[in-house]
């Protein structure tokens, strides 16, 4: 550690831990209490390298309710499934957190028979489990009993099988694991479509007809029910209209569809339909070796690729027990905070666009973003697909110059000049603007209770009055050494979400101003604790969950591996954009059509991450 760090404020974690014994950490305490209350249903996970508790499926809802109401673990962050083919079992994994106490997750593992995988749904306890359970049903095939609407979510209804099961093979299947034997030493080049020509690469489930199924009108599938309403005053029968907004629509930020039931101009119900950009990132990730996943994570939330890298390398470093050098940590924070500013500039520019101020004001926000991307390009080699972080550090040191300016000077100009200027300009342009205020105050309100129950994260959660940020609640990297605030707003409307992003950029600037001296002080030091290795193997079996505060919210990577294996056994991404969409319907109800676009814009989604 450099001398500078000694002057930095003490990590908060230690203060929190003072006066309490180690065994008293909230996760262990809650786990012990759970075991006491449900002696038959809850037990320690016996497997090596796994944390958390094993819960029997029939008692899951009771355990979850007790966890939420009595033990303070009121936030269900991630729901996913794992296929344990060799044991003929499927496993559901739940990560629950305490929003008040912070700290690590209490992980619930539920194992069921692979041939009859049925687990009670947690939607009645946490509505935020809705989309995630649908995803687990879609991709792994775990049947969640009592789920109100258990349909496929990322793949379409004519899809055959559950692709994340270990015995499922894609149309262009070559081998279970990379690297493929056909590439070397006798590589004869071929294109995948030569082996499996287009038109013959699709399989339908048995009995499924591509045309004419149980639904007459496609929208029936999404919003069944009565479409006529009788006006109570006059007794006149009026029609409700179902409208598809998207998938090809400029205001949906990508290929995304909203099925809306309208009464006149007012939204009665809304359901998001997604998956048009689905490429089964997780299956690809399980075929990949550990290092091959890094560039793929760039493509999730492509506006914040540095943060995506960070979450993934944290998870793998946890699994491997790797150290990170000091300079690498500072470089990572520098990159991640610049990414946050980048992303929020984009989000706010697009929010203006969604409000109807087309194109021009949006570009005013992007001018400075352009400079940050120039810096990324000069450092990492690519503007958006950075592929910058490696296990144990980062790939490159800072370059000598960016666009003809020496790097440190460029960064100082950026951090003390250009970015504060663009924030001030954004303030002038938006914050006081009467049209913006009229369109955004009181629109898309999400109450504190709903924000927690729906598992929202990031700016959406904090705009609803929950001061929860992974950087403080469960610190990673050097964030405990840095001085910054977690902004929070209490109305939970579009204006507050805008405000939070503005304030977060100011806080990121504060962090960057503290990071710059460290970058200078550590110049010339090692940026990676390890030698470059292309064939890393897991030193132990087990699971790891790495999470970071991505600009969009909590980005988590759940990885399990077997000992001496070069590929992850299960690779799951807790995608904040995807989960933040769960309460979209609720937020839009009662508003006008034009407000849907604004509310969606205020959630700030990236379809690369939603659809994965």
């Amino acid at each position: 550690m450099s001398e500078l760090i000694l002057d930095a404020p003490e990590p908060q974690e230690e203060e929190m831990m003072m006066g309490t014994a180690v065994s008293d950490d909230p996760v262990a305490r809650a786990a012990a209490l759970l075991k006491e209350r449900f002696p038959d249903a809850v037990s320690d996970d016996p497997r090596d390298g796994y944390s958390g508790v094993m819960v029997s499926a029939d008692k899951l809802v009771e355990v979850a309710t007790a966890l939420r109401d009595d033990f303070g673990f009121n936030y269900l962050s991630s729901v996913t499934g794992v296929d344990l083919l060799s044991e003929n079992k499927l496993e559901a994994v739940y990560h629950t957190y305490s929003l008040d106490q912070g700290g690590d997750a209490l992980v619930l593992h539920v194992q069921v028979d692979r041939d009859n995988p049925s687990i009670p749904s947690l939607v009645p306890v946490w509505p935020g489990a809705d989309f995630q359970e649908r995803e687990a049903w879609d991709l792994i095939g775990i049947h969640f009993e009592g789920h109100p609407d258990l349909r496929r979510i990322l793949t379409w209804d004519g899809f055959n099988g559950h692709p994340l099961r270990k015995d499922w093979k894609e149309a262009f299947f070559e081998e279970e694991k990379k690297p493929f034997g056909s590439r070397w030493p006798d590589g004869g080049v071929f294109r995948a479509e030569e082996k499996n020509p287009f038109g013959k690469n699709v399989q339908y489930p048995p009995g499924w007809q591509p045309t004419g199924n149980e639904y007459d009108v496609e929208t029936d599938m999404y919003l069944p029910g009565e479409t006529h309403v009788v006006d109570p005053g006059t007794g006149i029968k009026t029609d409700q209209v179902t409208v598809n907004i998207g998938p090809q629509h400029p205001s949906t930020h990508g290929v995304f569809r909203m099925v809306v039931v309208l009464d006149g101009e007012t939204v009665v119900d809304l359901k998001p339909v997604m998956g048009y950009l689905h490429r089964n990132h997780e299956k690809i990730g399980e075929r990949n070796t550990f290092i091959q996943n890094i560039p793929y994570t760039d493509r999730l939330d492509y506006l914040a690729s540095m943060s995506n890298n960070h979450g993934y390398v944290l998870a793998v470093e946890k699994l491997f027990g790797m150290e990170v050098t000091e300079r690498a940590e500072w470089l990572r924070i520098l990159m991640v905070e610049l990414t946050r500013i980048c992303n929020h500039l984009w989000a706010l520019g697009f929010l203006l666009n969604d409000l109807g101020a087309l194109q021009t004001p949006m570009l005013y926000f992007y001018l400075e973003r352009e400079l940050i991307l120039d810096f990324f390009e000069a450092t990492a080699g690519s503007r958006m697909m950075c592929n910058y972080m490696r296990f144990g550090g980062v790939a490159y040191d800072l370059p000598d110059d960016v666009r003809g300016t020496p790097t440190m000077q460029f960064l100082e100009e950026l951090i003390y000049g250009n970015i504060p200027r663009v924030l001030e300009q954004g303030d002038q342009l938006m914050t006081g603007n009467e049209i913006v205020r009229a369109r955004s105050i009181g629109v898309g309100v999400l109450s504190r209770e709903d924000a927690i129950a729906y598992s929202t994260a990031g700016p959406v959660l904090r705009a609803s009055g929950v001061q929860y940020d992974v950087r403080r609640a469960n610190p990673y990297s050097f964030y405990p050494h840095l001085d910054f605030d977690i902004p929070v707003r209490f109305n939970g409307d579009v204006m507050d979400r805008y405000d939070i992003r503005m304030e977060e950029m100011r806080q990121s600037l504060r962090i960057l101003q503290q990071v710059l001296p460290h970058i200078k002080a550590t110049a010339g030091q090692k940026i990676n604790s390890d030698k470059p290795q292309y064939a890393l193997r897991a030193p132990r079996a087990g699971e790891a969950y790495g999470r970071v505060e991505n600009p969009k919210g909590e980005l988590g990577y759940y990885i399990t591996a077997r000992r001496r294996e070069g590929n992850p056994d299960r690779y799951h991404v807790r995608a904040p954009s995807f989960i933040n969409l769960t309460p979209l319907g609720k937020m839009c109800q009662g508003h006008k059509v034009a407000d849907i676009v604004v509310i969606l814009g205020s959630i700030d989604i990236v379809l690369g991450e939603v659809d994965r």
């Binding site: 070397w184 030493p185 004001p361 450092t379 697909m385 592929n387 950026l414 006081g432 030698k531 292309y534």
Partner: protein, 230 residues
């Protein structure tokens, strides 16, 4: 007062409007602001205040040295009259193994007696699959595969033109020196350094107590992982 917010916003727009013309005046005496390499650098840098538009393809932004796009294979500088020199690639296959989308196909060279020869018989990269991650360059122990700066690869037929063979991929070392001078110099220094370190080690064993050499910082900082491979 109601309406001041909008007026403030208008002022921002006005400022941008005026700034875009100020650039015209300030560059008027120095060859104008468009189609002028010097002006382009300033307009795009931290000091740029006016219009940032780049008139591609007449104007092109310089790409930084580390920019990466579709790999090429390094060969020795060609003897006069030839296009390429000797391949640096030894067909060890590391790039094909590490490639995340598996877009590299290598056919290892064979000696007449059937044993492997350290050069590729054939080398293919499907550029439709390549994701420009740069891992092949990062892990190549022989500095033989590098990421290119040529990003204008559009063609009319993807089935024939987008699978690059060895002929299409090979480029001489002088080309790599031209597009990435600092990195090429650093790699050269690192290769010499390895030789030097070996020599020193031999000398030390022979009783000559010279200290270990170190790679100069200006070179080390250009290399990935700060040149820990060397």
């Amino acid at each position: 007062m109601y309406g001041t917010g909008i007026l403030k916003g208008m002022a921002v727009v006005m400022k941008h409007f005026v700034n875009s013309y100020l650039d015209d005046f300030s560059w008027a005496a120095r060859g104008g602001r468009y189609y002028n390499d010097e002006a382009l650098q300033v307009r795009q840098g931290v000091k740029g205040r006016g219009v940032k538009t780049v008139f591609y393809p007449e104007e092109k932004l310089d790409v930084p040295e580390r920019f990466r796009f579709v790999p090429f294979l390094v060969t020795d500088d060609p003897p006069p009259g030839q296009k390429w020199g000797k391949d640096w690639c030894t067909s060890c296959g590391i790039c094909a193994k590490v490639c995340p989308p598996q877009c590299i196909w290598i056919e290892r060279g064979k000696q007449p007696n059937g044993r492997p020869k350290p050069e590729p018989n054939a080398f293919f990269i499907d550029i439709d699959i390549c994701m420009n991650c740069g891992f092949c360059m990062e892990f190549c122990p022989f500095d033989a595969i590098k990421l290119d700066h040529d990003y204008e690869l559009a063609s009319y037929n993807r089935t024939t033109a987008h699978i690059h063979d060895k002929e299409r991929l090979s480029k001489p070392l002088s080309y790599w020196r031209e597009i990435a001078p600092k990195k090429a110099a650093a790699e050269e220094a690192a290769r010499n350094f390895v030789e030097e370190a070996k020599a020193k080690k031999k000398a030390r064993q022979a009783g000559d107590g010279e200290p270990d050499p170190t790679l100069a910082d200006e070179h080390a900082r250009q290399l990935m992982y700060r040149g820990d491979t060397y």
